[in-house]
């Protein structure tokens, strides 16, 4: 039987490290280049999930009247907004055309964007299992499916809580299940969208036995792999579920197992 430690050390010893020197590290030009690179990556990765880019803004005001939340297929993904904002969608898009994500790609120093990103990072909490997140987040509402009924073996669980959002990723055996839940109960209004890197096609609806109707789309990447994406708005919650490596039948079975009555 081989020894893992020896094998791993042997391979790591062969990894080449670049030669560093003090003068290069301390040069002002190099420092600024590194800082620009790090800021750009912070903005992108704080706002990205897998192959998606989430462009969102939520007006967070002590709310007592939340209007209906709408979600629809737009461009290469989903868009959502409260009803009032959605009515003005064209005008709203024009006023906010230069999003933080676009500024990230420009590499400019967007102080407001940086503030929002760093703020989000401070609030982020990460968990490794359903038990941990349930223990760590009092009153958590999350319609997570029954793992034992899910196809394949769940190898890894990741849960991330940032402000009003919960993100879940379950990985195993060539399959990835992702869920993003947003709670707008404390918002006066919002507007957000998710853009998938791959081409979107086959828009349709799926109605569960609980009588909840999801808007469903497919994405296909350059390797011919299909992703299935389902979105729904229930009460003040918005849910986007992504299936990679699942057949449509498997994906819909999982949607059936997600109890959305928890949102009432």
């Amino acid at each position: 039987m081989s020894n893992f430690r020896q094998s791993y050390q042997s391979e790591m010893d062969k990894v080449h490290s670049p030669k560093l020197n003090a003068r290069s590290i301390l040069s002002e030009e190099n420092r600024q280049r590194r800082q620009r690179g790090i800021r750009r990556k912070k903005m992108i990765f704080a706002m990205s999930t897998a192959a998606m880019v989430f462009l969102g803004s939520a007006v967070t005001v002590t709310a007592y009247h939340y209007s209906r939340n709408l979600i629809w297929v737009s461009g290469n993904g989903f868009a959502s907004a409260d009803e009032e904002t959605a009515k003005m969608q064209e005008g709203f898009q024009e006023a906010h055309s230069d999003t933080a994500a676009n500024q990230a790609y420009k590499g400019e120093n967007d102080q407001e964007g940086l503030y929002r990103v760093e703020d989000a990072e401070e609030l982020a909490r990460e968990y490794d299992s359903l038990e941990e997140i349930q223990a760590g987040e009092a009153g958590l509402v999350l319609p997570i499916p029954d793992f034992e009924k899910m196809e394949g073996y769940i190898e890894e669980q990741n849960y991330l809580v940032i402000a009003n959002e919960v993100m879940v990723r379950l990985t195993g055996e060539e399959k990835v299940f992702m869920l993003r839940q947003s709670d707008y109960s404390q918002s006066l209004g919002h507007s957000s969208s998710i853009v998938y890197a791959d081409q979107v096609e086959n828009e349709r609806q799926y109605c569960t036995r609980q009588d909840f109707t999801y808007t469903v789309i497919d994405t296909v990447n350059g390797r011919g792999e299909t992703g299935i994406h389902a979105a729904i708005s229930v009460n003040t919650y918005e849910l986007i579920v992504d299936f990679y490596g699942y057949t449509e039948e498997e994906a819909f079975q999982i949607l059936e197992q997600m109890d959305l009555s928890v949102y009432f």
Binding site: S2, R5, P18, I38, A50
Partner: protein, 175 residues
Amino acid sequence: MEQEKDRQQAIRDLEDKIDTYSDLLYKLAWVRLKNEQDAQDVVQETFCQYYKSAPRFKSREHEKAWFIKVTLNSCRKIWRSAWNRHVILMPEQEQMVQREPEEDYLARERSDQVLQEVLNLSAKYREVIHLFYYMQLSVKEIAAVTGSPESTVTSRLTRGREILRRRLKEEMDFE
């Protein structure tokens, strides 16, 4: 004049730290970020921070722990890799790994797979696997530099080993 002497001394001290730690920290950042340029940037920023803050250390172990912790914190700021869906072999890796032509083919193939499967783990598992098996830190030391409870470190090590056992073709002794 005095100021210039102090500055030169600080630079010599920095160079000494670079000689001692750069290889270790670079490999840690490389495994964590799976990107050569990012890893290099993180390590340079770590040394830059050392130069600016000039921390005092109680011992060599304390010093090493400080460098590891700062490097890991910088990695986390750059890369929220828990949400990185695709685990891909970095194109740079093929050039980075120097192979000995006389090396036994089977042994080399086995080692290749070991490193590849560690890189295929998600960040939280490959981080503790690397700290434990390559940097030879104890569970307690890993907990200290990662800011996680010892129980979390233990469960991540256990889980990381389980995944590696399943994926590695050959049965391995994980000590």
